[in-house]
């Protein structure tokens, strides 16, 4: 399938020369380059590289015994979770001696890279950003991380498992994208949702160990340049078909990058479905930090409040992440952070985010499903439907604003 042109053949079976060329054409942060290059090399291995979890219990136990220097620790109730389009996730109970030498049992979660994912991300980056956010916003506690594939077959991270839910009872949106929260939830969670984004963006990241992140200089386009290059590289590596609108949008994004005055931690996927809340409607964890990077605060603002990740209330009002009107969202954010919100930069990131979501749905998801490398292959194919809606959105945004298109 889809190997009719030389480019399609190279994508399916990347040569060293092609990998070298694509790395040169789309320079990304070093840690990102590492995982993306690994993905291409793994792709050459074909189905022999599909994840095998049959010995996971033993390998995980052995790893934890080494990591804690406690041969007597025990691991129970290892279960694979069904969600997680980008990561393989398992829960388990670990019994071991904690820092105070007390024998304790604690529920934990293992997040592990699949052979090929909807998004290729770096476990060390995820662990560093989670540690940096402790005390700033609610996050799961990271206990162990291994960015190398040796111990379990793939890089992984182990964190505390938190009780809570990501969507109201009875809702059916698999990923949380487009979820509309009932009024009781909107009233309780909408404000907290904005508050935590403000918390993320106001973190003084220079005081934390973020060695796996490239640091953009203030007053430059560095952060956005790396981000656009990353997603353009993803498109070029993963798509089955060229698409003129996606190419056109990439060209427009390269030519119109806004300067970032003060780089902040950008979550990268801040929306409904990526936070957890308790029965008394308190947000107790911000989740899915794997796309976090240092960049422009407008990127998160746009992503959390654009039409594609939002929902429409019964009265026709479009709500950011299904909770709060965009203007109210921005107003509260401005009050909390003191940051400017430039409508032109919001527009830029509306285009960028629709393009990014489009390429995830049309290129990466299909590629992962084609390789039969995830447990959600059927869903990955269906996402093309959302991908074409994203492309239409990109096109309408650019045409509607009198931009060239």
């Amino acid at each position: 399938m889809a190997q009719d042109t030389l480019t399609q053949q190279l994508r399916a079976s990347p040569t060293d020369a092609w990998i070298r060329d694509i790395r040169q054409r789309y320079p990304v942060e070093p840690a990102i380059d590492e995982v993306m290059t690994r993905k291409l090399v793994n792709r050459r291995k074909g189905l022999e590289h599909v994840s095998d979890f049959s010995g996971l219990h033993e390998r995980l136990t052995a790893y934890l015994q080494r990591a804690t220097d406690q041969p007597q620790l025990s691991l129970a109730n290892l279960k694979r979770l069904s969600g997680g389009a980008s990561k393989e996730q398992f829960t388990f109970d670990l019994t071991w001696k904690d820092a105070s030498n007390q024998r304790v049992t604690r529920p934990l979660i293992l997040r592990m890279d699949p052979s090929e994912s909807v998004v290729e991300t770096h476990r060390l980056r995820e662990a560093q950003i989670l540690k940096a956010m402790v005390g700033q916003v609610p996050v799961p506690e990271v206990l162990w991380v291994d960015p190398e594939p040796d111990a379990l077959g793939h890089p992984f991270l182990i964190a505390g498992f938190l009780q809570g839910t990501v969507m109201p009872e009875g809702t059916t949106k698999a990923s949380g994208v487009g979820l509309m929260f009932p009024e009781k939830y909107r009233n309780a969670l909408g404000g907290q949702f904005v508050d935590h984004m403000a918390g993320i963006h106001t973190l003084d990241w220079r005081r934390h160990d973020l060695s796996a992140f490239a640091k953009p200089a203030p007053g430059t386009v560095d952060g956005t340049q790396w981000t656009v290059a990353l997603w353009e590289r993803v498109w070029q590596e993963d798509t089955f078909e060229a698409h003129p609108v996606m190419e056109y949008a990439a060209e427009w994004l390269r030519r119109n990058m806004p300067v970032i005055d003060q780089p902040v931690v950008v979550h990268g996927d801040y929306r409904s479905g990526n936070f957890m809340f308790t029965p008394d409607l308190r947000i107790n964890a911000i989740l899915d930090w794997e796309l976090a990077h240092l960049g422009d605060h407008h990127e998160d603002l746009s992503w959390a409040s654009m039409t594609l990740t939002g929902a429409v209330a019964d009265d026709g009002t479009r709500l950011a992440s299904g909770m709060i009107p965009r203007e109210r969202f921005f107003e509260r954010y401005r009050e909390l952070t003191g940051f400017e919100i430039d409508p032109r930069t919001i527009f830029y990131f509306d285009v960028f985010n629709a393009w990014k979501l489009g390429l995830i749905c049309m290129a990466t998801s299909l590629r992962a499903a084609y390789g039969r490398r995830t447990h959600l292959d059927a869903m990955m194919n269906l996402l093309t439907g959302l991908g074409y809606v994203c492309v239409a959105t990109v096109q309408d945004l650019l045409a509607g604003q009198g931009r060239r298109l």
């Binding site: 009719d4 042109t5 060229a242 003129p244 190419e247 059927a378 439907g385 074409y388 298109l405």
Partner: protein, 182 residues
């Protein structure tokens, strides 16, 4: 040639909906089975239109690239497009080719267009603007075609209506291949 593809799909969909789903207790398995039902429903709607969809794409991309070659005549970016169009002209008529060959030819045309757009910044301003003017209606048609193709997947809530794929492809009982504008 029996049973028809549509009958196979319809029977599979019914079996999963009424037998498999009704007896599944695991939530993840239920979700997956539901997605398979959705996929089969989608395939029922498009399976007999795939060839004509590609035929229309072939016609429109060739038309567009022919126009762009004339527009950007003296730039080296159009040399591979010329070569591709010549190869297309030398190949059997599009409607006589196997489906796989037609798909491959269309991807070659798409790649050529993408490569030209990638080099748009190198073009003189007036040429780049003329290119834009030609691309605008092409992109709009492309959008409608793609949205019509995936409409049954249920993701599209954009304000302008999505055409029915059947109505988009066929007029007066035959595939409609738009003539070049004067």
């Amino acid at each position: 040639m029996q049973p028809e593809i549509s009958q196979f799909l319809s029977s599979m969909k019914k079996a999963i909906e009424q037998v498999v789903l009704a007896n599944l207790t695991d939530r993840f398995a239920q979700d997956q089975a539901g997605m398979i039902v959705g996929t089969l429903g989608f395939l029922q709607g498009v399976q007999d239109k795939a060839f004509h969809y590609e035929l229309l794409e072939n016609h429109l991309y060739r038309q567009l690239l022919g126009d762009l070659v004339a527009l950007v005549a003296d730039h080296d970016a159009v040399a591979p497009i010329r070569a591709q169009l010549a190869a297309e002209s030398a190949a059997p008529e599009a409607h006589l080719r196997p489906y796989r060959a037609l798909r491959g030819a269309n991807e070659m045309l798409r790649e050529q267009l993408a490569a030209l757009i990638h080099r748009q910044a190198e073009l003189p301003t007036a040429t780049a603007e003329a290119l834009d003017t030609r691309l605008r209606p092409f992109f709009k048609d492309l959008q409608l075609r793609e949205r019509a193709w995936v409409r049954a997947l249920g993701f599209d809530s954009l304000p302008d209506p999505v055409p029915d794929l059947d109505a988009l492809l066929y007029r007066d009982g035959r595939l409609h291949l738009p003539a070049k504008e004067a």
